[in-house]
Amino acid sequence: MFANFLIGLREGLEASLVVTILVAYLVKSGRRDLLPQIWLGIGTAVVVSLGFGALLTFGPQGLTFEAQEAIGGSLSIVAVGLITWMILWMGRTAKNMKADLHHKLDDAIAAGRWAVAVMALLAVGREGLETTLFLWAGAQATGQTVQPLVGALLGLAVAIVLALAVYRGALRLNLRSFFAWTGAFLVVVAAGVLSYGVHDLQEAGILPGLHSLAFDVSAQIPPTSWYGTVLKGVFNFSPATTWLELVVWWAYLLPVGFIFVRAAWFGPSRGRAPQPATPASLEGN
């Protein structure tokens, strides 16, 4: 029960956190009119994943292992591209905080009206296929036991609750801190998503080096533990990381992190990190 719960939690966190920040970002910057695009992206991802998973589970054709990994891996890498675009916009937004904020935002987001939908679609869809295959397996087992399915669904539900908590927390931050911190968080998440995608492609044999490990802390951080699950779900942290994953992680984190931090944290008020959050004027909630 608990093990299945953790799988659901992990997959749920992987899917929901990026979307959470995306929604918070839109709400913070007064662009609630774009929320339908988000729901459309999420809805599409869920429906397609569920339908496709059912088709592969119950239909006449399965998917080869290579194909499944290639889908997950490639979608992750495409998702990283979109998240990066969003991070850089957030950095710029933070920089232009005091100046005509809404005008700038309009420009940025209007251009990305559909990018927003696609981003939501990818954030949820990249792991959607594996998740639904797992869920359908749980559904198939309901003849003998409903525990796996219930556990997995509970895990997903808890992931969504956690995502909501993050959302509310993020909204409490003042604007400047919000952009600075969520952006920094996203940089780390995106680096994880990228190396996760690389690992999928390594497993499929599309990229080399599956067995040259940079480190293996599986003993200290078992992937079946709750903290291993959360680390994996939030940052895509893998206890047994290959060299290629590690290199890709740093190769993404350093340049993107540098660009973002320079823009968001050392913008108009040079050299000063943002002030800690004060219960400032809140928009919306």
């Binding site: 093990a3 292992f65 499944q68 290639a70 889908i71 209007a110 251009a111 497993e203």
Partner: protein
């Protein structure tokens, strides 16, 4: 509201890329779920059950016949487990299922080739897992195309046999007309019929050649005569209809055939053609036509073009080489088209290559069309001949991979 065009384009590109990313593996990466639907030889489907617990990984059998193999992996432990089928080196992943929660059963379906493998369960998703050796024995006719592909290969063979029969029928009726005109001394009509009738022969030349005794009797060129061999067939009549000047005949004056000789040789050509018709319509002929025969035949036709038609040696008196050229290409194209779906499924790049080069060659040939036929070979400049030869070689190269792509 202002819109940033560059970003919109980028988004659209991303969406397209996404579509391609999803579609590509889907098109290529399917395995039949239901092993019963696979047409693998041997004893049909094999389902093995695997029980994974904290300290054991029990596979119901240590070997399976090649073909579709299903591992039905049940997690009887209380930690999440994974199941891997690894190559003999224990490193390369052949297939895997992850996220098998306690109490769950997930299937790993694989089209297994004969060889040694390693199975592994990873309770707790860590380490090298609990491993065991696994053997896939050779069950014979499997991992060759199964299911849909096998059906396509069968269909291609049936269609090709039908094509061969149809061509021999047209060859037979055409030959009857030609022979009648020739024996009656109606040389103009015979000359008009010569090339269009031979089209049907040239389209199926490799098949005719497979009947070893018929080909030399019907299609031998004077230049290829061996000492003591009697010259009969199409090219003897060709020379008689397009009687050469002494200069073109090794300095000797050409002596036309007598009426009796004409009747004799014509009769022989007709009976050979009838024989070809009978043999291709016999039930056992269809058994000799499989994917390999079609693929090799297509390649053989192109070789014919390269060695005979492009050089103008085939029709040395009538100069109707381009007709034969076209007919050889037709035959090769028919053979390839029948197998094209199979090639597409197994080697997409090769199919694209062949499509393109057939088209190029046909485009070149079309320049020399005249009425229902072609200009005489003698009207081509050396450069034009070279251009045709290059296009033939360009097609010949990928065509030589056709059989391997389909059969292996």
């Amino acid at each position: 509201m202002t819109r940033n065009r560059a970003s919109r384009t980028a988004t659209r590109t991303a969406a397209l890329a996404l579509g391609a990313v999803v579609a590509a593996p889907l098109l290529a990466g399917c395995v039949p779920n239901d092993p019963a639907s696979s047409e693998a030889g041997g004893d049909g489907p094999v389902t093995l059950s695997v029980s994974s617990t904290a300290d054991a990984c029990d596979v119901s059998a240590a070997e399976a016949p090649s073909g579709n193999v299903v591992f039905s992996v049940k997690n009887d432990g209380d930690e999440v487990t994974e199941f891997y089928l690894l190559a003999e080196d224990g490193l390369r992943i052949v297939s895997e299922v992850e996220n098998i929660g306690p109490g769950l059963t997930r299937d790993l379906v694989v089209v297994a080739k004969p060889g040694s493998y390693v199975t592994a369960c990873k309770p707790g998703m860590v380490g090298d897992g609990i491993r065991a050796d696994f053997t896939v024995t050779d069950s014979g006719a499997d991992t060759a195309p199964t299911g849909e592909l096998a059906d396509q290969v069968d269909a291609a063979a049936v269609n090709y046999v039908a094509y061969v029969k149809d061509q021999t029928e047209q060859l037979l009726t055409g030959t009857e007309d030609f022979v009648a005109a020739y024996t009656d001394g109606d040389d103009d009509t015979a000359r008009d019929l010569y090339a269009p009738v031979r089209l049907h022969w040239e389209r199926i030349e490799p098949v005719a050649e497979s009947f070893g005794d018929l080909d030399p009797s019907m299609d031998l060129r004077e230049a290829d005569l061996e000492a003591g061999q009697e010259w009969t067939g199409w090219h003897l009549l060709e020379k008689d209809l397009w009687a050469p000047e002494p200069a073109d005949n090794g300095g000797e004056k050409y002596t036309p055939l007598t009426t009796a000789e004409r009747a004799d040789y014509a009769e022989r050509l007709l009976s050979d053609t009838q024989e070809l018709y009978d043999r291709t319509h016999a039930a056992e002929f269809a058994d000799t036509i499989d994917a390999a025969a079609i693929g090799n035949g297509a390649k053989g036709l192109l070789d014919e073009v390269a060695t005979g038609k492009v050089t103008g040696e085939e029709e040395i008196w009538s100069h109707t080489d381009l007709w034969d050229f076209q007919a050889n290409v037709d035959g090769a194209k028919v053979g390839y088209d029948g197998l094209r779906d199979v090639v597409l499924a197994k080697d997409e790049a090769l199919a694209g290559d062949l499509d393109e080069r057939f088209e190029t060659l046909q485009g070149l040939l079309d320049q020399y069309q005249e009425g229902d036929g072609f200009v005489a070979y003698t009207e081509l400049t050396p450069d034009q001949v070279k251009e045709l030869a290059a296009a033939v070689d360009a097609l010949s190269e990928p065509l030589s991979q056709l059989t391997a792509a389909v059969v292996l």
